[in-house]
Symmetry: D2
Subunit: 340 residues, 4 copies
């Protein structure tokens, strides 16, 4: 690695893409945002205005041909991820890609196989919770033995209800609540429990508010149990309908103690005492909750590339989370436990 | 009902029996503890010393023959409950009986059938959480519509680890973790969700510390999902191995909000700030956590008898909780979902 | 002391008097409520209906003549306390008296002098916080060295605002906010700091809502600093105008840690998550907050009489709290520090 | 203002200076760190290594002569602040200066007078709490009327004990605990109470651990009351000896509610449940607590300069905080209330 900064090209400039672009442009030391790509004219205009003079592309392959780009940062629609990763690796670029790797297991395998040919290139899937300072603190405490042997994770990904049910429109392609939301919790459980192999899952769920999900076999509140080898187990909860905000957190139980991450999704350090009691406001969205995690994730990727080591979730991790997510979806549909 | 107090005979004077006896003797207005029964000499001596001059029996049927006893309060081994309830009803006594009604469903039905013949007699199974002031407050908030339509309950019964594993000795007769612990959560879920009918369950679990449980097919940490009709669902967790105390609580999620009961099992109103951070101590046992619930439960029973109405969990409620508990046990053993 | 219960006569049956009467009648083992006294007809009727057949008096001296009364429990207007205590002692009765001992220091001294002649009689002033389980737990932790040497107490007595300003009517006789409210915090500070001698105080305050207090030189929000000998110090806050409930608590800071009692005046173990955030409701009044303290206080008094030892705040403690309270009032009026 | 970034020169590269320098170099969009100045060789070396190629000076006046510097950022010893601000203004530079403006009131006035001659130049004193997101949120809630009319602030600045008592060495020049620590709380109180004029103060304190402070008339735990005009009041607490961390927070009480900022100085979103109870770790230092505030402060300064408006605490605010701090020190020394 040269002494200069890692030159990154961001691909996809939607809401999350913009955040990644700004982080890489202004807040990640060791990185330089040199290129941005979007098929949307307005997004390219934004890139020209808000970012420090990157080259702006409307075509992914043009960006891949830019020799000044060391790494691509994919914040594109899920269906494109697999091929875009492969193309990036073939073009000699490191790849950071938002989750999921793919909603097709065969495709996941294809990407993994291809990546094996480029051991010198970093390819990471963005499970940003691994970089959230609180999750990381919990992970380090577990490593240090603070709770003995961890054997259970309870983890949830719960969004504040969107009365307009925007996400219902994505139901046909999202893969369903378990592949869209719980996949984060699956990765967290595996990571905090020492990467055990999953044995069996069971899932269930209800439609509490968004009737439009029924035609896609999806639910707006899902629950699941995942059994791992070695006497380890996880419980998951995903919701699209919470009243109080984005309430995303995890609990790890060990033989000598337990850790909670984010048990109260407090928005800040303010408490309000009034006639309704004493309260704190909550983080409205995962953007608010994980603002720092996205930044730390970017810093970690850049550092890892520069130091020639893996950081964050590997392609194999992403595939395993997807595999478990698929089994959850199958269990939800069948009402039966699914062996893995 | 006469204007005088309800005259109660306590049967069984183990740890929990003693607490019930003291509550009824000294803290429940409208009740008089007039009799106590135990086959254990030391417990009868305790009754003579600590209680206000009750008649002390070593034989249950002798107590049933005492015409000054209006109601019996059964705190006896589970295997005796069913027949003792039947005998009490036949002797014309109201009955309060600690959970479970029975670990045999046919026996449950036999008791219910018998009880139908004595509509003037109260027969209640002691699911004391319904009387805990915080649970009751949550119930009333739900009734008042505070969280919209409740559709999910997450509930747990978790004991502090007993390094000597005392409960392992009871594994042969306890019915297993779901019938011993989760049965409370099942009742809470039914109660807070509006008494829906269960459709299907799935359960799993691990032995984290107490290997001796394996030979009985039991676990020291169990998890479960229970699906009810009408788009309602429950998740359960039971543990024998927590480090921090008895951590028993519930969460109810509705379409317009959620309620937590006992999310932090704080022992009292004290917080300690020292080099380890800021902490509260936890309730060590369910006795500490539910001290007030046991008392409120006794008061409610006495009031209900005097007013000629049902209070607390009926025999049918207890049977339904047992039925679901059995299905959880079956699921744990088979690794399959069980339809009800 | 005979083996029988302590026979108590309650004097004064207002709101707090009724609570004491019920506690002594039904919830304090070792006590028998045998007499009740009130000049108010309606209160005597209540006593006949709600209590277990006590003798009911309309005249205090008639109750003092009742030879079956071992102890009197004074819940009468403050101005009567001193003389009633003296009369009770002269009649050979133990005395429990609600705070304050007196708002006249010379009168305090007179009572203390009189009490010295009856060393066999218990005379206690009702600073109930010393019996609140959480305060007691904090005290025991301090005794056990949990926070090193305690050197600072911050303590507050804050009522929910009464829009009708009922207490304004009592302003002429209450002694002002420091003698009415802060006197509890003064006792707590002395108790938790090892009974140091006060050296100097400074007080200030504002009228936030209840303008009617101005004519009495009183405030509805008062603050104060009290310096003790030996490098110990206290800060006090008293309010009549909080929006969220009765918020009464204390903090003790030591050289190795700190303890908080009641930092969040949570009403129960319920938390509510809704669009306003996550909140707990608060204890509306000191009755709700200190329900258990009043009961423990009564139990402790009865046990102390039966065991022939002092329990709770002595007359001297009460006088010292009053003396400091007077100095605070003087400081508020003068805007100057007052040396003691 | 040109369209380019604000070109900043940082002066003083101690621990806090380094943080400011890094923020300005890498995290503040709209700013460019173009110069750094320190008389310490090691610090200049750090600047060359860690910062993006600034011009590095060992002499302040040389930096002032650099025409590419638009603004200076003073993180120098307190005694230098006043003259350095004056020199910067005379050199045509905007000035950000860490608190305090000066520990000499005449000098404060001299700076203010000089600054009046340069109305086009921004001069701000770094009371960073005004930029902490939680403090700002509280401020906005107050502005929006969430707590009615605010009339009381309780605010504290408390450091974790440094067993080596490093700060004792600074006692001769720090101005004492009130001018060093409480000055922040004074500014917070003024800001949250609507900039009222102070009328009278009283202060007291103890030496809990650091006996070395006595010779300078300083304490390691100080308390104070500050009365403002218009029926507003503040209580302050400052400590150098807490066991659990940096515990810095404030409470604002209004006629319709109260706000707490930072009531529990939690380090992150992790809670630990083990045999000692349930706890969170605390922010060890004000660096950890106010990391984001320092950054927001820098962004706000840059934005304000570019928009030609004042942001943050003015020189007059700083002088007023110092004036109150002096009165507190005088009160501590004399044991008397001090009128302002």
């Amino acid at each position: 690695m040269s002494a200069g900064p890692l030159r990154v090209g961001v691909v996809g400039l939607g809401r999350l893409g913009k955040r990644h672009a700004e982080n890489l442009a202004y807040r990640v030391s060791g990185a330089a945002l040199v290129a941005a790509c979007s098929p949307v004219e307005a997004e390219r205009t934004w890139a020209r205005d808000a970012l420090p003079a990157p080259r702006v592309y409307d075509d992914y392959h043009a960006l891949l041909g830019d020799r000044d780009v060391d790494a691509v940062w994919l914040v594109t629609p899920s269906a494109l991820h697999a091929q875009q990763i492969i193309d990036a690796l073939r073009a000699g670029k490191h790849v950071f890609c938002e989750k999921p790797l793919s909603l097709d297991l065969a495709e996941c395998e294809r990407v993994i196989e291809e990546a094996r040919r480029y051991p010198q290139l970093q390819a990471t899937i963005g499970f940003m919770r691994r970089f959230d300072p609180s999750y990381r603190n919990a992970f380090e405490k577990i490593e240090a033995g603070a709770i003995g042997r961890p054997f259970m994770v309870r983890s949830q990904t719960c969004d504040q209800n969107d009365p307009e049910g925007f996400f219902v429109r994505f139901a046909p392609t999202s893969g369903g609540i378990f592949l869209d939301c719980t996949v984060h919790d699956i990765d967290v459980a595996r990571w905090l429990l020492g990467m055990p192999k999953a044995k069996r899952v069971y899932a269930s769920g209800v439609v509490a508010l968004h009737e439009g999900l029924r035609e896609f076999g999806d639910v707006d509140n899902g629950v699941a149990i995942c059994e791992f080898e070695g006497g380890r187990i996880a419980m998951f909860y995903a919701s699209r309908t919470l009243a109080h905000g984005n309430d995303t957190g995890s609990e790890v139980i060990g033989t000598a103690g337990a850790l909670y991450v984010g048990r109260n999704p407090r928005a800040n350090r303010v408490e309000i005492a009034d006639a309704s009691g004493i309260r704190n406001e909550c983080t409205p969205t995962f953007f608010d909750r994980f603002e720092e995690a996205f930044l730390c994730e970017a810093r970690a990727f850049v550092a890892a590339v520069r130091e020639g080591r893996q950081s964050g979730a590997t392609l194999a991790d992403a595939m395993e989370a997807t595999r478990i997510g698929f089994a959850l979806r199958e269990s939800l549909a069948s009402g039966r436990a699914v062996d893995l």
